[in-house]
């Protein structure tokens, strides 16, 4: 591994100015992707500009939504109780990235800018309607995360620009979300695929009678059968999938099919099928396409159901002791 210069700017402006004035330079935050790429000789920057010490990239605000700076580490997000309760899909994701050591330094901004199809926070941020704030030489601009992803390892950042942070809208009590990361082991793994879902359901202001359905170790299909009697209408829904396309994608047709409908087992089967038809997984050493497509069906159902569970049992989000 060759040596490199290391710069530690204190402000966003300083960082942008440095990048403009230096040849062959690269921004680095947690370094959990950049350093690996350098070691693999896929990157050979002469200069690294660290974004770690910039206070303006390190914020977390929870009023009227959720705003997170790009240099906030996974563990900081994981420890936040508000994120856990109101933006559960994101909490699910940040807790499962790499290992504790990685989560102590890796940042969400880095995860998104690296733009791997398998980026763990991408699916949750997509279903949580996140937009990104981009800082550049001439000021700041905002765009939806969906537009920010251009392709594998490609995002809509112009040269010198810095992803400053993420903004997510506020969601009501009747909204829940979840992220499922399908892996071969419990830590230190990339997802074979990932599915996130957010649902807003009309629970009619009254207690849901079948709360206890979720407290069992029953199969999904049995839980859904009991839910059917409750006439739970899915008012709004987002579904996003990772690793099944060149970039993390929304399953828009599946969303359409669920929106405004009463939750039922049959509908869930259909949603799973539609989401799978929207995926284009490939064969790789990490997983076979047929299996990934099958898992889209399974995990889409599970993610939606878990999101529903989080609305119905906001104080008791411990899923029954089953594999899923």
């Amino acid at each position: 591994m060759k040596g490199y210069e290391y710069h530690k700017p204190q402000t966003v402006k300083e960082a942008i100015d440095l990048m403009e004035g230096l040849e062959n330079a690269k921004y680095i935050a947690g370094g959990t992707d950049v350093m690996v790429l350098i070691r693999q000789k896929k990157l050979a920057p002469a200069r690294l500009i660290s974004l770690r010490n910039i206070g303006d990239l390190n914020y977390m605000e929870t009023e009227g939504g959720l705003r997170i700076g790009s240099a906030v580490t996974y563990n900081t997000i994981a420890k936040n109780d508000f994120v856990q309760r109101r933006y559960s899909a994101l909490a699910d994701a940040v807790k499962k990235v790499g290992s504790l050591q990685i989560r102590n330094v890796a940042t969400m901004g880095g995860n998104i800018c690296n733009a791997a199809p398998s980026a763990d926070t991408a699916c949750p941020l997509l279903v949580l309607d996140a937009s990104v704030i981009i800082a550049g030489k001439t000021g700041e601009r905002e765009m939806s995360l969906d537009d920010f992803f251009l392709g594998p390892n490609k995002v809509a950042l112009e040269k010198g620009e810095i992803l400053k942070g993420f903004t997510m809208p506020a969601f009501g009590e009747n909204t829940g979300s979840a992220y499922f990361k399908h892996t071969r082991r419990q830590a230190m793994d990339l997802p074979m695929l990932g599915v996130a879902a957010r649902v807003t359901i009309d629970i009619g202001g009254s207690e849901v009678g079948c709360k206890d359905a979720f407290c069992t170790v029953d199969s999904i299909s049995n839980i859904l059968k009991r839910l059917e009697d409750e006439n739970l209408v899915c008012e709004d829904v987002r579904i996003a999938m990772g690793v099944v396309a060149p970039r993390p994608i929304r399953a828009r047709k599946a969303e359409e099919a669920l929106k405004g409908k009463v939750i039922s087992e049959k509908l869930f089967e259909e949603i799973g099928e539609i989401a799978a038809s929207e995926s284009q997984p490939r064969d790789s050493i990490r997983g076979e396409a047929w299996y990934r497509r099958d898992m889209v069906k399974v995990l889409t159902k599970r993610a939606i159901l878990k999101a529903v569970d989080r609305v119905i049992r906001p104080d008791d989000t411990i899923w029954p002791d089953r594999l899923w």
């Binding site: 591994m1 082991r185 830590a187 050493i285 990490r286 099958d294 399974v298």
Partner: protein, 761 residues
């Protein structure tokens, strides 16, 4: 065995503080003055002719001191079990791990840069990546000078009459099973430093598991290089895991020697993690056809097995794994008729080597999976068929193994009890239980001519004891076990005992850390040496105290008369008396223990081990029928260990073996695609993490082996032998599908479930 003070105690590992504080000097940490760094260039293709190698640019790079290619290997030197492996290849490359050039430079960075400057022109050749294709008549030859791709190693064992037994059997189960390549994943990667003195005597700092055999290998190499009558010294750095990977010498060691010879400087080669995956030798993959039969009562009548092993492009000691596979094949359960043949076949894949269990896990996977199939056919509970056929003390098995102590039935019953076998089996509701048993060598294994280990003990004036042992500490805790044994005999504390075990100039001969033999052989060797030195000390004490030797006892560092406690003398004082009196003496004892076991004869019969280790594993799993994922809910590993010298270290061996076995069963595999390794990193090679560890109960069954030190048998390997079949059997009980091809991935289970659903309409 009452009244033991040190043996049987949970003594912490002697080297734990060193390792916990980072003070241990691994090969990675080792620096020798003037040392250069070596790097190796590997082949770009799995099978190709080297048309041209141009090293001029590399050699011209400032800081580069030498560049070697196959042309620089003197006198056509080759190493390995069949001497078919040149340290640097010329002419043809036969696999992607073939070493074709090497650089020594003043820094690692320069050496790496120089590698990129070596220009190689290849003419690519079609490769053979499947042993079955390689075996076919008319197949191209991997080694052109040989007549066949099948190695000339006739592995065949026949006992009784299998054909007749087949006719008489009430039930027969037959099937084909296969296993994958898995690698050791030592956290300390391989490496060495080679250095010559002015007289061309060689010192190799190494992390080998076989210092004495490696010394011999290097001596032979020097002779071939034209350096006759030289000395070779092997010094082991602290070793970060072995598991069999360091049971043979590797090309990189000879390359370091050649570079040191060329540059007249010490040369260090340490593998990167990627190299460790690529250029060390994994467990061989196997294809096994098996057929087993029983009578109407479930008594086994015969076992027939035919095995093909992918040898890879070169031959290491790993090609002898079929000899250890024979242990379970001939002797796991009482089976009167046996037929076994195995073929090792050259391919253009990576060449294979020893790995914890040495072939036993592959054989046991087939035997124990097939035994459940047979039990089902016969309508007998899998536990019952194992109980009926279990080995017993006093048995002489078809291979002439003399079964001495045998706790197999106890192990099986522990599993049944702790797993709630009867309550949980046969529900087919997504949860299930399975079990599998094991036999392994437990009292060494006479693979080489000698199976011995030497020990020298010396005590100093202050009552401190130095134990100089031939055995190697590779993380398993042999230093602690030996210290406990010696402490027990001498009545001094474990902390008063210093173990010296890393230098062939100092340490006596030993055949190596393999075959789960160290506690048994090195333990017995140390025990004998300790008894000799105790006798010497007692003799002097007797004279000093004016008491007969028989009346003396040694405890807590004091020697006293049993008749008169007032008559006593501290241990250290005896030693000083011996040393400082006129015509004084030193207190030194040596002992060589070579166990009374036998090499196989030409029919592969012989009592390979003085005693045999037994065990049974039971597992409860839950299978997610929608995803095919398996969760282990409970894992029982019961082992007959003779006697636990140190229950804590022993449990560590069982946990470690069990977890390595779980990786083998459920996820680990080296993915080779047409000769190219696709997942040579920890991201894509799915070794289980600490988060994947299920609840494991290590159950110690003590059968008190009379030949073992304080009754102990070996436990190094058994922990991973029955793991895969126990899990496969549990999955079958849970969801009714049997996966016969390791690893048992979610994909395979889901596919099997779908096929089953289709068949059931």
């Amino acid at each position: 065995m009452d009244g033991l003070k040190f043996v049987g105690q949970r003594v912490p590992k002697k080297d734990a503080p060193l390792k916990a504080t980072g003070d241990a000097v691994y090969i990675q940490d080792l620096k020798v003055p003037g040392m250069l760094h070596g790097k190796i260039l590997y082949s770009k293709y799995p099978h190709a002719r080297i048309v041209k190698i141009d090293t001029a640019k590399a050699l011209a790079l400032p800081g580069v001191k030498a560049v070697l290619t196959g042309a620089d290997v003197p006198n056509n030197f080759k190493f390995g079990f069949l001497k078919d492996n040149p340290p640097l290849k010329s002419g043809k490359v036969l696999s992607t791990r073939d070493e074709i050039a090497a650089v020594a430079a003043v820094s690692l960075e320069i050496a790496e840069e120089a590698l990129d400057l070596i220009e190689v022109e290849y003419e690519e050749l079609p490769g053979i990546f499947d042993p079955l294709t390689a075996m076919k008549e008319g197949s191209a030859l991997i080694h052109e000078e040989l007549k066949s791709n099948v190695l000339k190693l006739p592995w065949k064992f026949v006992h009784g009459d299998v054909e007749a037994a087949k006719k008489e059997s009430a039930f027969i189960a037959e099937d084909t099973f296969s296993t994958q390549w898995v690698t050791h994943c030592c956290l300390g990667t391989s490496g060495c430093v080679a250095t010559f003195d002015a007289s061309n005597n060689l010192t190799v700092y190494s992390n080998t598991q076989i210092p004495s055999l490696a010394q011999n290998d290097f001596l032979e190499a020097l002779k071939t290089f034209g350096l006759k009558k030289k000395r070779v010294r092997v010094i082991q750095a602290v070793i970060g895991g072995g598991f069999g990977s360091k049971l043979d010498t590797y090309a990189y060691e000879y390359i370091a020697i050649l570079l040191a010879l060329k540059t007249r400087k010490p040369v260090k080669i340490v593998f990167s993690r990627e190299e460790e995956f690529l250029a060390t030798s994994p467990r061989q993959c196997t294809i096994t056809k098996i057929s087993q039969g029983c009578d109407k009562d479930g008594r086994l009548t015969f076992r027939e097995m035919e095995m093909v092993l992918d040898n890879g492009a070169y031959t290491s000691w790993g090609a002898t794994t079929p000899s250890v596979m024979m242990v379970p094949i001939s002797s796991l359960y009482k089976v009167p008729n046996i037929k076994y043949t195995a073929k090792c076949v050259y391919t253009n894949n990576t060449y294979c080597q020893a790995f914890r269990g040495y072939g036993n896990p592959q054989a046991t996977f087939a035997i124990e999976s097939c035994l459940d199939q047979l039990a089902e056919k016969a309508g007998i509970d899998p536990h019952e068929i194992r109980r009926i056929n279990a080995n017993e003390p006093g048995e002489l098995t078809p291979q002439n193994f003399k079964i001495t102590s045998c706790g197999m039935k106890d192990c099986i019953e522990e599993v049944v009890k702790r797993l709630d076998w009867k309550g949980k089996r046969g529900k087919a509701d997504g949860r299930g239980v399975g079990m599998a048993s094991l036999i392994h060598v437990g009292g060494a294994a006479r693979v080489y001519k000698s199976d011995g280990c030497g020990t020298i003990i010396k005590v100093d004036d202050n009552g401190k004891v130095d134990v100089i042992t031939g055995s190697s500490e590779i993380g398993q805790g042999s230093d602690t076990i030996i210290a406990q044994i010696v402490a027990e005999v001498l009545g001094v504390g474990v902390d008063d005992i210093n173990i010296i075990n890393n230098d062939t100039d100092v340490c006596p001969w030993d055949v190596g850390a393999h075959a789960s033999r160290t506690t048994f052989v090195a333990g017995n060797s140390a025990l004998g040496a300790a008894e000799k030195i105790r006798d010497q000390i007692m003799e002097i004490a007797a004279k000093t105290l004016g008491e007969p030797v028989e009346a003396l006892e040694m405890k807590d560092g004091i020697i006293f008369s049993k008749n008169d406690k007032e008559k006593n003398i501290p241990f250290g004082k005896v030693l000083r008396k011996a040393h400082y009196s006129l015509g004084g003496r030193m207190l030194v004892a040596e002992n060589f223990y070579d166990p009374p076991n036998e090499n196989f004869d030409q029919t592969f019969r012989g009592n390979l081990s003085v005693t045999y280790a037994y065990g049974a594993h039971g597992v409860e799993v839950e299978v997610d029928k929608e995803t095919g994922q398996v969760k282990i809910l409970n894992y029982i590993a019961a082992h007959d260990v003779g006697k636990a010298i140190n229950p804590m270290l022993l449990e560590g061996q069982i946990y470690g073996g069990g977890l390595q076995g779980i990786g083998y069963a459920l996820g680990e595999r080296m993915i080779y695609d047409k000769g190219y390794l696709k997942n040579g990193n920890f991201l894509d090679y799915k070794m289980p993490t600490v988060r994947d560890v299920p609840p494991v109960q290590a159950v110690i069954v003590e059968s008190d082996e009379h030949a073992g030190p304080f009754g102990a048998k070996g436990i190094g390997e058994p922990g991973l032998v029955p793991t895969a079949p126990a899990i496969a059997n549990a999955i079958y009980d849970a969801v009714g599908v049997r996966i016969k091809d390791l690893p048992i991935t979610p994909e395979k289970i889901l596919k099997a479930l779908k096929e089953k659903a289709k068949q059931n309409g």
